[in-house]
Symmetry: C2
Subunit: 396 residues, 2 copies
């Protein structure tokens, strides 16, 4: 027994933990397995199931009727069952990317019990994996210097509550005396201060861009954009509850008006260059809407603005002060000048036309911007790519 203490200890522990599962014959399979030829094999043990489908964002799409017309969704693929009850599916060779997937077992959605890596998007958790290669290597943890990621709380007098925020500081921040520029990076509807760091792989993207000399070392501040929340679901005073797409008091102006609470907190708490030329603001979807409104409501504050698939539409219904005088404040922002006003959207995004209209408005008033049109729609894959494209343009 002496010789095998570690083994015995391991056996007892694993036995205690898995006794229940062993009762139900859970199988220890390798899934997903990324093969040398970049195909990916998925395995799921379900001997009694009549059908197991896999669905994921790497599969061919199909058109589905919806109340908003035809939409593209991945076409679930039927997996093949072997004599032992293991269902298997192997994908085509996949391009480098971070992908997500789930199984559907006799009609019920299931995560992959052999893959503990999950992302939560609003209220749904989904398995993820990475196929390595050029763009996807930005999403990996590589053997390079790493920044720090801190969850901390700041006081927001404008919203009347303490609020949680996620902050990335670049490698070397703690041991340096330098001041740094700041990117404020805003999430979309249904997101929170965990969205960019998890789904967006912000820390990995920043570490890699900085290590490759493609981005200046900078601080990235990822606040919670839902004015009614102190923190992400489960991380705040409300406890555990099911997240929803639009929290109360969303997109009604309070958040934008109180945004300087965050800027003041950051500039008081970190060694930053507290100047317009060292401030950037960008966001996806609702966060793009927020970035557009905040940067023009405080029209001499940010030299860099990024609108990723921005939810920019006319808001004649909006009554908050922050939404009044949009054209006038945009004009002031234009006259004050920005070093970069960057707009990116996918060709099939449901907000495509809204962005066409917004660019027409900017063209009409002579406001300069850079424009990137990508494939695809309103998806995290695009937002990760936009971040890797936008960040190298900052603070040069």
């Amino acid at each position: 027994m002496k010789k095998s203490f570690v083994l015995l200890f391991s056996l007892v522990l694993s036995h205690l933990a898995f006794t229940q599962e062993a009762l139900f014959n859970a199988a220890d399979l390798k899934s997903p397995e990324i093969n040398a030829d970049k195909t990916v094999t998925f395995r799921f043990f379900a001997p009694k199931a009549d059908s197991v489908f896999i669905t994921g964002d790497f599969l061919p799409t199909m058109k589905v009727k919806s109340r908003f017309g035809l939409v593209d969704v991945p076409k679930p693929a039927l997996m093949q069952k072997d004599a032992k009850g293991v269902w298997t599916f192997t994908s085509d060779a996949l391009a480098p990317e971070l992908y997500s997937y789930s199984f559907t077992v006799d009609g019920l959605r299931s995560i992959d019990p052999n893959n503990p890596f999950l992302n939560r998007d609003v209220a749904t958790v989904t398995n993820i994996f990475i196929v390595g290669g050029p763009q996807a290597d930005f999403y990996k943890v590589n053997d390079i210097p790493h920044g720090s990621v801190t969850r901390r709380w700041y006081d927001s007098p404008g919203l009347g509550i303490d609020r949680r925020v996620t902050i990335y500081t670049p490698p070397g921040y703690e041991s340096s005396n330098a001041t740094y520029p700041v990117l404020y990076l805003l999430h979309g509807a249904g997101g929170d201060e965990e969205a960019w760091i998890a789904l967006g792989r912000t820390a990995q993207i920043m570490d890699n861009l900085i290590a490759q000399g493609k981005a200046k070392p900078m601080i990235v501040v990822m606040p919670n954009g839902n004015a009614s929340q102190d923190a992400a679901p489960g991380e705040g005073n409300t406890g555990f509850y099911k997240p929803q797409f639009m929290a109360p008091r969303t997109m009604e102006g309070s958040y934008e008006a109180a945004f300087m609470d965050i800027v003041k907190f950051v500039e008081k708490s970190y060694r930053v260059n507290a100047k317009k030329e060292s401030r950037a603001i960008a966001g996806l979807s609702m966060g793009g809407f927020h970035s557009m409104h905040i940067s023009r409501f405080y029209p001499n504050t940010f030299d860099y603005v990024g609108l990723f698939s921005a939810a920019i539409m006319p808001r004649e219904d909006a009554t908050a002060k922050v939404y009044s005088n949009i054209d006038e404040t945009l004009k002031v922002q234009k006259e004050n000048g920005t070093k970069l006003y960057w707009i990116a959207i996918g060709k099939t995004d449901f907000l495509y036309q809204a962005n066409v209209d917004f660019r027409k408005k900017l063209d009409g008033m002579g406001m300069k911007y850079e424009y990137v049109e990508s494939e695809g729609g309103h998806i995290w894959r695009n937002w990760r790519v936009y971040l890797t494209q936008f960040v190298p343009k900052l603070f040069n």
Copy 2:
């Protein structure tokens, strides 16, 4: 359309995300629902299933035969199906606690699709919920000042790699000039630098104890105790892979010998009182083993030692220098003196006898310690409780 922009935006977004799931009739149910009488109702939509069981750590246990003898496991409870295909189970009234559970659908383990709150324990993700009340209120995020939680990387010359560490700093740390004491808090086999902060609710426990005046403000350092890992699975250079109970080079001495790399990093990087009287080390299971060995190998370094369900057994098989001269170094540690040597274990823990034997050794050499014997076994419920009991005794 103008009036309902936010609603429309929300509908489109939620529709895009849930189209696939809608195809498979996933139901939007409230689960778990904590009722006023502290019973808890679970719901799961599975119209075609023949059986749905719930299992969780709040259920009565049953004896199951194993190669280690009879072990107690929760007895799965059959849920009841209604005409709409919704399976329901309501528990007895539950004592305040953080609980975990999963479903078993026709023999297959499933998480609760209506509950996005999950903990990963080694390779298994499990749903969690909290029933509020005295002890469990330490595990909640309450409306009190909050500390910060940072994931950062330190250089470990002793292990030859950069490694990730999770660090809690107390409320007010950033705006103060004070120095703070430090608790080094170590995880068990299969854990990593995410274990204490997630499964152990360390940030919530510390915030609540400090706000109630029951604990001194302190820094809590949660390192990765697996000498072969740079970081938790998925957070390091190895990428996504299935975690295992005992990583390579576990409990073979390297980690303990290189531990001062962590102490040096912390004392260089934070405003701490770098003295024995301001250092505590504690850990659960393998982390208790580590705490015992580190505190005697560096026998004049820690004034507070906590062994939670510690994996302390004779190690005649161990050849590393750190495991030689155990009795002699314990004697030196005793002579140098500690302010607190604290041992806690559950009555049904499989390490109970090993801890009896270890206490006999301490008694034999006249080394003083405090001893707490709790109900239950080798489970996170006990380790959270031990943390709330141990921390108030520190640095007084």
